[in-house]
């Protein structure tokens, strides 16, 4: 499925549109919000969706639609930050351990194994529990397990590229080790890293909002999709819409990243 036929697939077009909407909401969410996400108005508690409040009101009468719009900045933003940081850390570790080999490789890989043995959310909860919830703790908690995925991927590719003839030719013509890594080995990894980052972003958004749902993510009152769902959970019998809409927002954005990630992977495997 090369680039042209990729765009014909309706699902992918929807994904790109959603992605565009998600980016707009993440950047300009607070400006777009019709109401102040934090301003409470008890008179309109639990109102179903109406013209004035497009998605209805939550337990304290706050406009659910504007809270979702503002919450995006936290859920998606933090997800992107986690992915970028762990991608940077993982790629560097992968390149070094893949290219140097020997003891360095063994050491880095064992460290990766150690971090790999902690499931992401369990580790994040442990950190949140021990160091207290908060955005920064959450960011470190998610990143320090996530980077291992990138390290393993990049190490695998570096090991295979390192044996290629053009690397030996470069070594022989006096190109230094770092220049070889940056000019030759990194580009060979790029397409796989992009695919993994896109799908990693989908996972990160899920993780951030899951932790929010469990109460260890971003603390109220600033809105975050996961915490919105948590608040909605208690009133599920009387106001189900409170937990429906934030969930849909999460799913759509995660779905669009996953679809785009799959499309990128198909295009890359066609090029190989």
């Amino acid at each position: 499925m090369n680039v042209r036929s990729a765009l014909k697939n309706p699902l992918l077009i929807a994904a790109v549109v959603i992605l565009f909407a998600v980016i707009v909401i993440t950047l300009f969410g607070s400006m777009l919000a019709p109401h102040d996400p934090v301003e409470t108005d008890l008179s309109v508690r639990f109102n179903p969706p109406s013209l004035k409040y497009p998605l209805g009101n939550d337990s304290l009468g706050r406009c659910l639609f504007s809270r979702i719009l503002c919450g995006a900045r936290m859920s998606i933003g933090l997800g992107i930050a986690v992915v970028l940081f762990s991608c940077f850390l993982g790629v560097t570790a992968g390149l070094i351990s893949g290219y140097c080999g020997g003891f360095v490789d063994e050491l880095i890989m064992r460290i990766v194994d150690i971090f790999f043995s902690f499931p992401e959310i369990v580790a994040a909860m442990a950190v949140a529990g021990l160091m207290g919830p908060g955005t920064l703790n959450l960011f470190f908690a998610l990143s320090f397990v996530n980077w291992t995925r990138y390290a393993r991927l990049v190490r695998g590719i570096t090991l295979s590229v390192r044996e290629r003839d053009y690397i030996k030719a470069a070594q022989l013509s006096g190109v230094s080790r770092t220049v070889t890594i940056i000019r030759h080995i990194l580009p060979a990894n790029l397409s796989s890293i992009i695919v993994l980052t896109t799908i990693g972003l989908a996972k990160a958004i899920l993780a951030v909002s899951a932790l929010g749902f469990l109460g260890f993510g971003i603390q109220p009152p600033d809105p975050e999709w996961g915490t919105l769902l948590m608040e909605g959970k208690d009133y599920i019998l009387s106001a189900p819409h409170l937990s429906l809409y934030p969930g849909i927002a999460i799913m759509l954005s995660v779905l669009s990243f996953n679809l785009i990630g799959d499309a990128l992977r198909d295009i890359r495997s066609r090029q190989r």
């Binding site: 003839d165 030719a169 013509s173």
Partner: protein, 323 residues
């Protein structure tokens, strides 16, 4: 750095040996075996030294040991009067700076993401040559090696194998090496393109007065452009001779079998020699001469003692008990 012709033998290799590790006998002690052992070669200036042998005979390992891409455990290399005692010592760095290599598969020896121009300019860039000079040198070399100007912007995947190999040759010549190692430069190309690249190599040798170290199993190419020939079998050199003597009077049974296996007319006149069995695995080499399990003129002594080098004529050495 240019060299005057003060010393005729330009590169001397004295019983070089390379060991590889292959897994573990016990928890720590590693099993190692000889990939290449007691190799002694003299390469003179402006010569085309041909190393022939089949895959698994250690030809490439030997070249990579000489060029420092592999460590060598025994032996010496004498380059330009100075001896290299162990891998990557200062003298070895000097050798590496004035030696280059052309690989078998042109598409694999060029970075798929680089344009041909970037690949050709890379050695110059590593040596800190300015942008303008690099471009000028690259263009002149491309013209000399028969690459048209607009090909320089293309990527290796968008050009033919022959043109890729020309780009490799241009890249190698950009830093004016004194010795050029050619690892099966023609095998991956089509018949007609092979002839053209062979012609190009001869011209480059004449123009840049290079010394060639050619690895190949294509004996018709050796007959055309070689000067001295060495035959390698399972990590050891079995015969060394000037080209004319080698093609007229090959002594070692394996050399004869190799020559007889060339089906092209004009190389081997007599009956085809069909060997039996396989190349021995270096992990447990046979005792005595390594070729004795497959040799059709085997003597009782061959199984026990490894043969010494015997000089049959000037410059013609054989490692065989028959002489």
């Amino acid at each position: 750095m240019r060299f005057e012709d003060l010393d005729v033998s330009f590169l001397k290799i004295q019983n070089l040996a390379v060991k590889f590790h292959s897994g573990y006998r016990s928890f720590f002690r590693r099993l190692s075996f000889y990939a290449v052992r007691n190799i002694s070669i003299n390469i003179n200036r402006k010569e085309t030294f041909c190393l022939i042998g089949e895959s698994g005979s250690g030809k490439t390992t030997l070249v990579w040991a000489i060029l420092g891409l592999h460590l060598f455990q025994e032996g010496r290399i004498v380059f330009d009067g100075q001896t290299i005692k162990q891998s990557n010592d200062p003298v070895h760095q000097k050798l590496k700076r004035s030696a280059q290599i052309v690989f078998q598969d042109p598409a694999a020896s060029l970075d798929p993401f680089f344009t041909l121009r970037q690949s050709i300019e890379e050695p110059l860039r590593a040596r800190g040559v300015g942008k303008k000079d690099r471009a000028a040198i690259a263009e002149s070399l491309a013209a000399k090696t028969g690459l048209s100007y607009e090909l320089l912007q293309r990527r290796p995947s968008e050009v033919s194998g022959g043109q890729n190999q020309r780009a490799c040759i241009a890249r190698v010549l950009s830093i004016k090496p004194d010795i050029l190692f050619l690892d099966e430069p023609l095998t991956a190309l089509d018949a007609i393109v092979q002839k053209q690249v062979a012609k190009l190599l001869c011209e480059m040798k004449r123009d840049y007065d290079l010394t060639y170290f050619l690895i190949t199993h294509d004996l018709s190419l050796v007959k055309e452009i070689g000067t001295t020939v060495a035959v390698m079998y399972s990590g050891r050199i079995v015969e060394k001779a000037p080209k004319e003597i080698f093609f007229s009077n090959p002594c070692h049974p394996y050399s004869q079998a190799l020559l007889s296996s060339v089906l092209k007319p004009g190389i081997w006149k007599g009956k085809r020699i069909v060997l039996k069995g396989e190349v021995p695995s270096p992990l447990n080499p046979p005792s005595g001469c390594l070729f004795h399990p497959r040799c059709f003129r085997k003597l009782p002594v061959c199984e026990k003692i490894a043969p010494e080098s015997k000089t049959v004529a000037t410059g013609h050495e054989v490692f065989c008990h028959l002489f």
